[in-house]
């Protein structure tokens, strides 16, 4: 097989930091290359270079037999390289067909005025939507589609450009299992059309399943690039981190106390979940398992007072709390790490220190004037910053948004640790972050529980929950489907409980 893309000795540095070092990478014709590496390994930089967003400092690229040095995104597209980004780039107020052909609308001339030819637009849109297997009217407003359908529209949009190489960057993060299958099927069809692909993901199982070859990146260098069947998950992780991972999960040996921390009775929000009851004790890790959209996040948001409840009661250390609000919970030292850290957990344009200091501010207000004691605050922030092991050059000056995903997540955790919380609700804390950071977060959780804190751990990864939790609650279509203690953990039955669908109650 011949090479479609060949990167030769690519170097890129930002200021003094070398991000890519003598990087060599090849993509063959008609192959799917899996690309893995920790956050900060240089994957995004490499992709930005391929996409024409950043120029390399040194090195050369060959694409389809010709020298390739795109000056901007448009040139990359014209050369035949297309991107499916992790964050969907769709315009919600426009229709599907307008999104598809926003810059290439078919027009017809009417007395010298170029008007959109709606008929032709619809025909073209239907044809391309069929190609990705999306059955919806092209006149549907984009906002009425689900995330998976939006992604299909994005892929369809890319296909209108007749690309030779499609780069998928973490395409499955917001998809349900079923939707993921649809995506994989589509990827298989694209392969038959002789389109090469680079597939970037932290989900190593997906990478192993999909790829023809796999490339591992670490510290800006290519560590290995071989046929996929020569890799195992463990060896791949080892190559990514550069050291042996003794154990991904810490040993959990503490036993939960019998003191009730949080008790929830028959909680309903009237829309997403119904009659959810559970009790969390001090020193306990309670797992919430379920498919995406099973109502787990919504339960947490309602408990934390972010969305109104319709019925049910919430007790905190035995006291009924009638009015739930984030203010109440912060006062009670209960922390909530939200699912979407970029949108809800962080102020991306502010410094790391400012973000960390935010929640615990009141503690550092001193009498008599009620002013903020900045010296005490910054001492405490520095302490937490070090404890959480955030990798950053300067916490006072560096903006949180410039950190890699794993370090952003650590910053959110650091922020809440300032409270010295008694309860920590973690909603998908390891979403989109690399193995090394995951391990640190698991470690952090474990040590917090050792100190007597209660933790609610929401996750779609059953392995993680089995390793970390004292008890697991399974949610299915808005209801609690199972409540199992550690002694009775059984992977198959938990997964079945999450997947089981009753005849009368299908997910829309």
């Amino acid at each position: 097989m011949t090479d479609l893309l060949r990167c030769e000795k690519i170097e890129k540095s930002f200021g003094d930091t070398l991000v890519l070092h003598q990087l060599e990478l090849t993509v063959r014709k008609n192959e799917l290359l899996g690309l893995v590496g920790e956050n900060g390994a240089g994957k995004s930089t490499l992709m930005n270079i391929l996409g024409g967003i950043l120029p390399p400092n040194k090195g050369a690229m060959l694409f389809d037999g010709q020298a390739y040095a795109p000056k901007n995104a448009l040139e990359a597209t014209q050369a035949g390289i297309a991107f499916i980004h992790q964050e969907l780039n769709v315009l919600n107020h426009l229709t599907v067909q307008e999104n598809l052909f926003l810059t290439s609308m078919p027009t017809k001339s009417l007395i010298g005025v170029r008007l959109i030819d709606w008929k032709q637009l619809e025909q073209k849109a239907v044809a391309i939507l069929n190609q990705v297997g999306l059955q919806c009217s092209p006149k549907t407003k984009m906002k009425d589609l689900g995330p998976a359908e939006k992604q299909l529209v994005e892929i369809a949009k890319v296909l209108t450009l007749a690309p030779k190489l499609i780069i998928f960057d973490e395409p499955t993060t917001s998809l349900t299992l079923k939707e993921r299958e649809t995506l994989f099927q589509l990827i298989a069809t694209l392969r038959q059309q002789e389109i090469s692909m680079i597939y970037i993901s932290h989900n190593l199982d997906d990478i192993l399943q999909l790829s023809d070859r796999i490339a591992v990146l670490r510290d800006g260098q290519l560590i290995s690039q071989r046929a996929a069947h020569t890799y195992q998950k463990e060896s791949m992780i080892q190559e990514m981190i550069g050291r042996k991972v003794s154990a991904l999960f810490p040993d959990r040996h503490t036993v939960p106390s019998t003191n009730s921390l949080l008790k929830v009775e028959d909680l309903s929000d009237g829309v997403n979940f119904e009659k959810v009851s559970f009790e969390l004790h001090q020193g306990e890790v309670l797992g919430f398992y379920g498919l995406m959209g099973a109502g787990r996040t919504e339960v947490m948001q309602t408990i934390y007072g972010l969305t109104p409840k319709k019925a049910g009661a919430v007790y905190w250390k035995g006291d009924l709390k009638k009015r739930l609000s984030p203010r109440l919970w912060v006062a009670q030292k209960a922390a909530f790490l939200t699912e979407d850290r970029r949108a809800e957990g962080l102020m991306l344009d502010h410094s790391i220190a400012q973000n960390i200091g935010l929640v615990g501010l009141r503690k550092w207000i001193k009498k008599p004037f009620g002013l903020l004691k900045t010296s005490l605050l910054s001492a405490a922030v520095t302490d937490v910053f070090k404890r959480t092991n955030i990798k950053a050059a300067n916490m006072d000056r560096q903006e949180v948004g410039t950190l890699s995903g794993g370090n952003q997540q650590k910053a959110v955790i650091a922020k809440w640790l300032m409270l010295q919380p008694a309860l920590f609700i973690l909603d998908e804390p390891t979403k989109g972050i690399d193995v090394g950071a995951k391990q640190e977060i698991y470690q952090q959780v474990s040590s917090l529980v050792d100190q007597g804190m209660g933790v609610i751990f929401v996750s779609s990864e059953i392995e993680v929950l089995l390793a970390m939790c004292d008890r697991i609650l399974v949610m299915n279509q808005g209801r609690v489907a199972a409540n199992v203690t550690r002694a009775d953990f059984n992977k198959q039955s938990l997964v079945d409980a999450a997947f089981h669908q009753t005849e009368t109650n299908t997910v829309p």
């Binding site: 780039n89 926003l102 959109i116 997403n272 279509q477 829309p508």
Partner: protein, 330 residues
């Protein structure tokens, strides 16, 4: 059953809040003043609202991009003064003066666009600057004296065609053209894309700068047309000409359902109805001979009410868009 009927009715009224308001305003003024609902008065309202509709049509383009143009009233003044001078002092024919005025409007719009996209000044401040510059220029050229325009100019404002005065025809052409641009051209659809999210639009390959420049240029052009129509109707240009018209225009656009956050809105019917509504309220208040100082308060009250309804609607939509997992029967 009862509640669901009421809910349905409530939803229907919310969705058509502007129409409901329209009906209420006409009913109230119709009851208070018997002359209000006469055909003659309704036609009067239409004639009087022509300049506002033209001005607000241009403003709609800018607001859809999530921008704002505070300079349109001042552009009206400077266009009126220069074209007035051209007629009075240089005796230029209308065939020269009208294009001259329109080109002036385009230029001022382009200057706004340049300071927004080249110098990266936020629209509010950029057009606020232009507000002072253009008004200052207008006052300078006119030496703060009123210009009284000759008959050869004012006939434009009064001559009826097929029984309908020329300003209404001009207004109709502007609204029609504006609507076609927004709904049936690539530029229009890209305008909405830019308004919703400029970064995403850029990633999707839209030339965002051009779209935004276009919106301010169109807004300036509309201000110039509004100015020419208004001078022809009034027959004079006073130093306060066009003063605060920008706010009435913004109010009309918002009343018509265009969100100040950008990405949504229409000239037809939205802005058209919004502008007529504001004009109707003003002339209605004159007819019931209320204290003129109360006009602004009442107009503001109605505007507040409409924006409130819009906000409620927005919240309901957000709640609806969260797909319910549970069946309604459970």
């Amino acid at each position: 059953m009862q509640t669901s009927f009421l809910q349905g009715l409530g939803k229907m009224l919310l969705d058509r809040s502007i129409i409901v308001l329209f009906v209420i305003v006409f009913l109230v003024f119709g009851l208070l003043s018997p002359q209000f609902l006469t055909l003659q008065n309704l036609l009067n309202i239409l004639v009087q609202s022509a300049t506002l509709i033209i001005l607000a049509s241009g403003m709609t383009f800018v607001i859809i991009t999530a921008g704002i143009d505070l300079s349109v009233g001042s552009i009206m003044l400077v266009v009126a003064v220069i074209s007035g001078k051209a007629v009075l002092d240089y005796d230029l024919p209308l065939l020269v003066v009208i294009p001259l005025g329109m080109v002036l409007g385009l230029c001022f719009g382009y200057l706004n666009a340049l300071s927004i996209h080249r110098l990266k000044i936020i629209p509010f401040i950029a057009t606020l600057g232009m507000y002072y510059v253009a008004r200052g220029l207008g006052l300078l050229i006119s030496e703060t004296r009123a210009l009284n325009l000759p008959e050869s100019y004012t006939w434009l404002g009064n001559t009826p065609i097929l029984g309908i005065p020329l300003p209404v025809w001009i207004m109709a052409v502007v609204v029609f053209a504006g609507h076609i641009i927004l709904s049936h051209t690539t530029y229009g659809r890209q305008l909405y894309a830019v308004g919703e999210d400029a970064v995403r639009a850029r990633k999707a390959g839209v030339k965002v700068d051009r779209i935004i420049i276009g919106s301010y240029v169109l807004c300036g052009l509309c201000a110039a047309i509004a100015s020419l129509v208004a001078t022809a109707q009034l027959g004079a240009v006073s130093p306060t000409f066009g003063d605060q018209r920008e706010f009435t225009a913004i109010a009309a656009v918002v009343l018509g359902g265009t969100s100040l956050f950008g990405g949504t809105g229409k000239i037809f019917p939205g802005t058209l109805i919004g502008a007529i509504l504001i004009q109707s309220i003003e002339s209605g208040l004159v007819m019931v001979s209320l204290d003129p100082y109360l006009y602004a308060v009442i107009t503001a009250g109605i505007l507040f009410f409409v924006v409130l309804i819009d906000s409620i609607k927005h919240q309901r939509q957000n709640r609806k868009s969260a797909k319910p997992l549970l069946k309604s029967s459970s």
